[in-house]
Every structure is written in C-alpha cells, then in structure tokens.
C-alpha cells in the first residue's frame, strides 16, 4: 500500500513525453489532465469576464466597458462557465476517476474520448475567437428569440454562439455515450450497480441527461441557424410568418433545466465520495442517495417552464410547474440529510477536501432555499430576471458545483500526481473562498429584492443599489485572490507537494487500490474482483475480501494505440462548422478533412 512513487516507470510501450504524446494520447488519465487544464484556463477567462462585469457595476453610471461589451461579457461569462469550465471540469473527473473506480483499464472508446476533448478545445477556441473579431455573442446564454433573429442581431455574434454551442454539444454527446457504455459494460467482476461508488452513479445519471437533453438544444439551434444562415431563411422564429418566440423558450429550457442537473449532479457525486472517506464511515443511506439522484435527474424533465413563469402560461401551467419544482426539493433534502448523517458518529478529519465538501453542503443549502423561494410563481414574478436569481444560480453553481469540484481536486490530486496539495494554502483558499463568495453573492439577494434587474450594464443613482453592488464587487476581487492562491498551490504541489501513499486518504473505492500514484497506464495489472460496497474497507477479517490488482508490470497487457485521427477529425469538424458562417471556402476543406479523418480513424487498428 505504501508505494510512494510519484511517477512510477511502467511497461507501457507508448511514448510519455513531448507535445506529440499529448496530441495522440488515448489514455483516459492524460485526456483527463488535458480536460482539466483546458477547463481551468476557460474558468479563469470566465472569471476575468466576471471581474469586468463587477467593476462596471461598482457604481451607478460607470463606464468601465461599453453597453455592447457588457452584453457580450455577461453572455460569454455564463456560456464559458457552463459549457467551457464547469461541464468539462466535471468531464475531467469522469475521465480520470470513472475507469479507476469501476476497475477498468480505460474507457470503452479511448479514441472517441480523445475526439471529445479535441472538439471541446476547438469549440471553446472557436467561440472565443469572436472577441478578436469584435462580434462576441451578446444575446444572453439562453439566446431568446426574437432578439437572436437576424433583424435584431445582424452581425455574426449570434452565429458564433449558435455554431459554437453545436460544436460543444458534439463533444458532450460523444463523451456521454462513452461514459454510459463504460459504466454499463466495463465494471470489474462483481461490481454490481448497487456496489457502484456514488460518483460513478452520478456520472451515469449525468451522462443520460446529456444524451437526452442535448439533442433538444441541437434542434433549437438548428432552427435558429436555418433562420439566420440559410440563403432561403426559414420562419421558425419569424413572427411575421407566424413563428412563435415561445417555441424557442420551451425547447431551450427542456434542455436547460436538465442542464442544471448536468452541472450539479457530478459535484454531488464528488461530495458523496469525500464525506465517507474523511468521516471514516460509509455513506449514510447509500441507496437513498442513489435513488434521489436518479429521481432528481428524472424530475428535471418536468419543470422546464419554471423558467417561464412570466410569459403567461396561464394558471394551470404555472401550478403544474410550480408543484413539480417544489417536489424536487424533497430528494435534494434527502441527499443533504444523508450527507449530514454520514458525518454523524464519524471521526471527521478536517482537511481541505473535507472543508470544501462541508462548504458545498452549507452553500448549496442557501442556493436550494432561494430556489424554493422562486418555485412559487407569484414570488417568482417579482424575483425573475433580478439579481435575486443571479444570487441563486451562483450559490448553486459556484457554492455548489464549483466548491464540489474544488473539493474533488484536493481529494484526487494525490492520485493524479502522487503528491498532496499544500494544506496550509488549502485552508487559506477555503476560508477566503467562503468569505469572498458570500460577500459577492449574498448581497445580490438584497439588490434583487430591492428591484435591480439582471443583465443591465448600468443603473441609475438614487435606486439604493450602490451599497450592495459595491459589496459584491469587493467580494469578487477577493474571490480572485483566493483563486490565485489555489492556482499557486496547484502548480507548486505538482512538483513540491508532500509525497502521498497510493491510498492517500484511506478511501474505500477502487481508484485508491492502484499499484502506484499516478496509476500505471493500464491502471490495474489484474482486474480486481469486488464483493461489497466500499471494497477497500472490507479487506480484513474472516469475511474480508482482499482486493488484488497486481503490480506495475504491464507486460502482455494490450492498451490502445495512440492516434492523431481523433484530433484531425475534431479539427476538420470545427472548421466545417465554421463554414456555416464563413462559407464553403472553410466548409468544404473542413468537411473533407473530417470525413477523411473519420474513415482513417474507423479503419486503423484500435490496439
């Protein structure tokens, strides 16, 4: 157990250094690292956008940025954080952890996995190129018709947004297909569904939400693109020809609400791993946590119109969607109580990952409660489109998802690098984050209830909004400091962190059973056989079952060959899609490269 080698030599035949090895890699662990740093980069881009937003709102009538730029900033802040930071950061965890947690040597389709990553990277770059061309998307991340129509958004800003989201959708879908298959089909012998770690469960639920929700926004975006880009434009959202702007809202939120759970469920999974480990006892109510996660995922399909309480659905529609929304509070509550139950009676080690997990619960409660406040349509008609809702989503997405993912970073860092992150810096990071995020987001409840609409680049003097906005701005600056501390800790610890044993925290799940940290390329020399939940905690005693994964000798184990075709296919596809905006000179070569690379990929030997 105490093999403390930071980078153990393995018998893998594939090159492990140099840029080319990263471009051609199909190893889920290296793809995870690519995902992680790319998502982190976009997270800082989105954070920078947020700081500009906060500076612009620091006093009435400020002129830090123009109205036009402000509209682009809030659009791209949300789009970036959702599609380029939080989702791919979750996918980084799926990639690294899922095969390890289920005792597999890789994902089911390693090259498809590489393809997902490259599509995500190119899609993210594509969307941000719009800033350089001065046509950054400016219609809001939800892009309501008819504002996104050609008549009201004549530049390419909305085209960049729509095409960019289509590209990113491909990445998400390909990844989700892969993880569903991996989890269904590559579980170690004996690892039945009700023995799966909760993180794996939540990944499975999230992946199903992705494959069912993304096609809906794909269709909505196709309709928008036909309206905008077709030489013979369609009328989907053309009111003059009978098109209905509400069709867009329905399609968007049928996607958009499951998307919220796509963002939060992985973090809930991470928390459900961390709490038992540091409480030294199994997850309380495992089955209830799993079922409530499935129930939340299922109910996520029946509540989309609670984003539309002000459009005039009529009292029956409002009532139905209000009650369905309130119902979701129940499984959410069940999860929170079970997490607290997990800690109850434990011996809680208060280290950074655990602090962030506790912080997640505490902050998520606030986000959940403000959510209940606007599940009631009458109350929502006053809160909708105000800063109150901005406060709510940030308690859910920052206080929830982001804190959960940060907890996961501290937790699994020793597995990925063989070293711990620095604990003192970690604690500074945690406490500064808690202080600054509350300073940033809590006052938004007040500014919202006191009448400040969201998505306004300025406000008038005498409305009483200054104080709360200045608190938020100060908090945002402090939050930036805490994130810099985190970044420093991360980079420093990769090289200088305290060396960790393979089971760095006495975890119970299979990822902690690998022979080394980081694990050998093939993960497990022998596929482990699992007989219980929390297998690493049930190895001793007469009923114990020793988990044996062999050593570091990979001789004779077939691992998939590296390939650059996924990258070329992804690049070709991105260029092809860009051709939708810029014409055939891009579209045709891109399409040819895409088709050619796909054929080469399909026909090359996989291993």
């Amino acid at each position: 157990m105490a093999t403390t080698v930071a980078a153990a030599p393995t018998h893998a035949t594939h090159a492990h250094t140099g840029l080319w090895s990263w471009i051609t890699t199909v190893d889920h662990k290296r793809i995870a690292i690519l995902y992680f740093f790319t998502a982190l980069g976009f997270f800082f881009v989105g954070g920078f956008e947020a700081l500009l937003i906060r500076l612009q709102l620091s006093h009435a009538g400020a002129t830090v940025v123009s109205a036009q730029m402000y509209n682009s900033l809030f659009t791209m802040h949300a789009t970036t954080m959702i599609f380029l930071a939080l989702m791919p950061m979750s996918v980084a965890f799926f990639n690294y952890i899922i095969p390890l947690q289920i005792g597999a040597r890789d994902v089911a389709f390693p090259r498809l996995n590489a393809f997902s990553y490259w599509v995500f990277l190119f899609g993210g770059i594509f969307m941000n190129i719009s800033f350089l061309m001065n046509v950054a998307p400016d219609g809001g991340w939800y892009g309501y018709a008819t504002l996104t129509g050609k008549a009201y958004s004549p530049t390419h800003s909305i085209d960049f947004w729509a095409v960019g989201l289509q590209i990113l959708g491909v990445a998400s879908l390909a990844g989700a297909f892969n993880f569903i298959t991996t989890i269904i089909n590559l579980r170690a012998p004996g690892l039945g569904f009700m023995r799966l770690p909760v993180f794996t469960w939540m990944t499975l639920v999230t992946s199903f939400l992705i494959i069912l929700a993304f096609p809906v926004i794909t269709v909505a975006l196709v309709e928008l693109m036909f309206d905008r880009l077709s030489p013979v434009p369609t009328n989907f959202f053309n009111v003059a020809k009978g098109g209905d702007p509400l069709l867009w809202q329905h399609l968007f939120w049928v996607f958009g609400h499951p998307e919220v759970y796509i963002l939060i469920l992985p973090a809930m999974g991470v928390i459900s791993e961390i709490l038992p480990t540091f409480s030294g006892k199994p997850l309380f109510g495992y089955a209830f946590i799993v079922y409530s996660g499935i129930f939340i995922g299922f109910m996520g399909w029946g509540v989309w119109s609670h984003h539309m309480f002000t459009v005039g659905l009529g009292p029956l529609g409002d009532t139905f969607f209000a009650l369905a929304t309130m119902l979701i509070a129940i499984p959410t509550g069940v999860k929170i109580f079970n997490w607290i139950g997990t800690m109850w009676g434990g011996s809680i080690r208060l280290v950074t990952p655990m602090w962030f997990a506790i912080g997640f619960i505490s902050m998520f409660i606030i986000g959940g409660l403000s959510g209940i406040m606007h599940s009631s349509p009458p109350a929502d008609t006053q809160q909708n489109d105000t800063y109150f809702v901005v406060a709510h989503i940030h308690y859910v997405l920052f206080g929830g998802t982001m804190l959960g993912l940060i907890a996961g970073i501290y937790y699994w860092f020793p597995k990925v690098t063989g070293r711990y992150m620095n604990e003192t810096l970690g604690q500074w990071h945690f406490w500064l984050t808690m202080i600054s995020m509350n300073l940033t987001f809590f006052p938004m409840h007040f500014s919202g209830l006191l009448g400040m609409p969201r998505r306004v680049y300025t406000y008038q003097k005498g409305m009483g909004f200054e104080l709360y906005n200045q608190m938020s701005t100060a908090g945002a600056l402090l939050l930036a400091v805490s994130l810099l501390i985190f970044l420093h800790n991360l980079i420093r610890s990769i090289r200088k962190g305290e060396v960790a044993p393979t089971n760095a925290w006495n975890g119970a799940t299979l990822e902690w059973a690998t022979a080394t940290s980081p694990p050998p390329e093939f993960n497990f020399q022998k596929l482990p056989t699992v007989k219980t939940l929390d297998p690493l905690w049930h190895q001793e005693g007469p009923k114990g079952h020793k988990i044996d994964v062999g050593g570091t000798d990979g001789h004779g184990i077939h691992m998939p060959n590296p390939s650059y075709w996924p990258m070329f296919a992804a690049f070709g596809m991105t260029v092809m899609m860009a051709g939708l905006i810029f014409g055939l000179t891009l579209g045709v070569p891109g399409g040819l490269l895409f088709v050619y690379s796909t054929y080469r990929w399909a026909l090359e030997p996989a291993s």
């Binding site: 002000t310 011996s347 006053q382 604690q427």
Partner: protein, 346 residues
C-alpha cells in the same frame, strides 16, 4: 499527514467580520424595506392587492426558509464540531443507514412544501382572474421605450403611465420587436411582452405617487435604459391629464422660432419615425404630440429639459447605446428651433 492542522485563526476572524457586515446589510435592507424613498423599485413594499398577495406568499416562504436554514446549518455545524477528529476522540461508528430516519426526512420537507404550495396556488389563480378593469391600457414594447395607449380615450403616450388611484386597470401587453417584460414592483410581478402574442395583467393602485418601472427581460443594447414611470393620481387629476393629452395644440405663430422648428420637423427625418397628430404619422419612435408634458426623455434616462433634448436630437446613440434614432447633423439654430417647436407640444 496534515490531519492535525487547524483552520487558520485570522481567517475565522475574517469570517466573523464578514458575518457582521452581512448582518449590517441585512439590517440596512430590513429597515430600508419599509422605505421606498431609499429603494424606489423595491419589491417588498406592495401598493396594490395583487402585489400584496405576492408579498404575503413570499413572507410565508421566507419564514419557512429561515427555519430550515437555521435548523440544517446548525445540524451541519454541530455535527462537524462534535464529531471532528481529536486526540482521544471516539472512533467512527460504522452504520449504513436508517429507514425510519429516511422516511422522516422525506416527509418533513414534503409537509413544509405543502404549506408553501397551498397559498401559492391560491394566489396564482387569484391574480390570474380575467378582469375587464375600470380602465384599459395597451402597453407596447419597443427597443428601448414603452408605448402606452388608452383605447377608447384617444390618447397615446410614451414612458410615462398615468393611472387614477383606486381604479382597477387591465393591461394588454404586446411587443413590436423582441421580448420585453413589464415590471412595476410596487403594483405587480413581471409579465412579458412577446411579439405575436398578447399578454394580460391587472392591478389596482392604492396610493397616489410616482412609481418606477423597468424592462425586466434582456432586450438588446440598451435594455438597461428602458425605464418608465407610473404616475398614480386622484381621479380628477387623471381626468385633467387625459384632457390635456387630447387637447389640440395650436400651430406655432408663423414668425416664431417654433414655426421654423415645425418646418424643420416636417422637412427632416423626424416624420419618418414620430407621430404628431395632424403633422406626421411615423410609428417607430415615441408619439411626440404631447412630448413636453412628459418629465423625462429617452425612456426615463434624462430629465426633459432643453439641454438634454438638444443633446438628444444631435446625437441620440451617443447618449443611449444602440438607439434607433440616428445622429442628426443640424446647425445649432435648427436644433434650437426644433426644441422650441417641441416645447409647444404640451
């Protein structure tokens, strides 16, 4: 390894300071909530039955939310404090769950939600009652200003909605371009103005005064600059206002500056977009028939004084991003004449 390290004390101290600051903010807000003078657009000071019903629902929810917040956060903090690892502390007790507990904490939120759901549904239906109203107003959203029509009364105005106190007013909400949202927090929740659809809303203002409203659905470049005011007046003042809005305006004296302004108005681009009954019939911009009875210009951005009006006519997009009114290259004299003419429109 690092298990023994404690949270840094300076940070815990800062956390307390933050709590104090937030408490101050909450206190400030709480006292401020009773004063629309400090927060003119507050949602928490209802001035109509409709808004009060909403506020009552919210109050009920807030009560429950505070209770849940305190109980659950306390449970979390106490659990962490009590079971944190310390020298000589008890080892972790392995237990996998407890079905009775699970049922209890499934039922508890369900019961609380029922307490929230019942008044919610009641208010949904109460506030959606179709109402003819004592007075009807058609609200038409434009990028980025408000058109208010009083059907049957022959009055069309912009950005300043006059209503008689104590009379139920029913609105028809429409849009000519993109989605906007009509919002006067003192009187009602938001209702969207959706192109191709007509939405309905009603309320009964209970007090006189001036109440701010604002577009609450992102509608493009100057979404932030789409304000309006609701002026609630005693019936006789309202009737006087209606009469004034309808009263014909005598053409300016032919030798006056205003007469020159009228000529410029008729020659220039103004007529393409603006309406002045008997003079021009544009429908893109606000009706200017009684423009000088209004307190502000540019959808509530600026006081309606000569200086602002001059600057606006010269270069509207510089004052209001995206404004559809283009910059007018006119001599100072021409602009002054135009302003003089518009000042006769009262």
């Amino acid at each position: 390894m690092a298990d023994s390290k404690r949270p840094s004390f300076p940070l815990a101290l800062i956390a307390f300071v933050l709590l104090a600051v937030l408490a101050f903010a909450a206190g400030d807000a709480a006292t401020g909530w009773a004063q629309s003078s400090t927060y003119p657009q507050t949602t928490l000071e209802p001035r109509s039955e409709v808004a009060r019903a909403i506020d009552d629902v919210l109050d009920g929810i807030v009560l429950w939310v505070i209770v849940i917040f305190v109980v659950v956060q306390a449970a979390l903090v106490l659990t962490v404090a009590r079971f944190r690892q310390r020298p000589g502390g008890a080892p972790a007790r392995h237990m996998h769950g407890n079905t009775t507990l699970e049922i209890a904490w499934t039922l508890a939120p369900a019961i609380i939600l029922a307490f929230i759901a019942v008044p919610t549904v009641k208010v949904i239906f109460d506030n959606a009652k179709p109402t003819k109203g004592d007075i009807q107003v058609r609200v038409i959203g434009h990028q980025w200003w408000w058109e208010f029509q009083y059907p049957g009364k022959g009055v069309i105005t912009a950005n300043e909605l006059h209503l008689p106190v104590g009379k139920t007013v029913s609105f028809e909400l429409e849009s000519v371009d993109v989605i906007h949202s009509f919002w006067v927090p003192a009187f009602a929740g938001k209702k969207d103005l959706i192109p191709g659809r007509t939405n309905h809303l009603w309320f009964t203002p209970e007090v006189t005064g001036t109440f701010p409203g604002q577009c609450a659905e992102f509608c493009g470049a100057s979404h932030a600059n789409m304000y309006f005011k609701v002026v609630v007046q005693p019936q006789e003042e309202f009737d006087a206002w209606l009469a004034q809005q309808k009263a014909p305006v005598a053409p300016p004296d032919s030798a006056s500056l205003a007469a020159r302004g009228l000529a410029i108005y008729q020659k220039g681009q103004c007529v393409a977009c603006h309406m002045i009954d008997g003079v021009s019939y544009g429908v893109v911009g606000p009706n200017l028939g009684k423009v000088s009875t209004r307190a502000t210009i540019a959808a509530g951005m600026f006081p309606n004084d000569d200086e602002n009006l001059t600057a606006w006519i010269r270069n509207a997009p510089a004052l209001k991003p995206g404004s559809l009114m283009t910059r007018q290259d006119m001599s100072d004299e021409d602009v002054a004449a135009l302003v003089a003419y518009l000042r006769t429109r009262r």
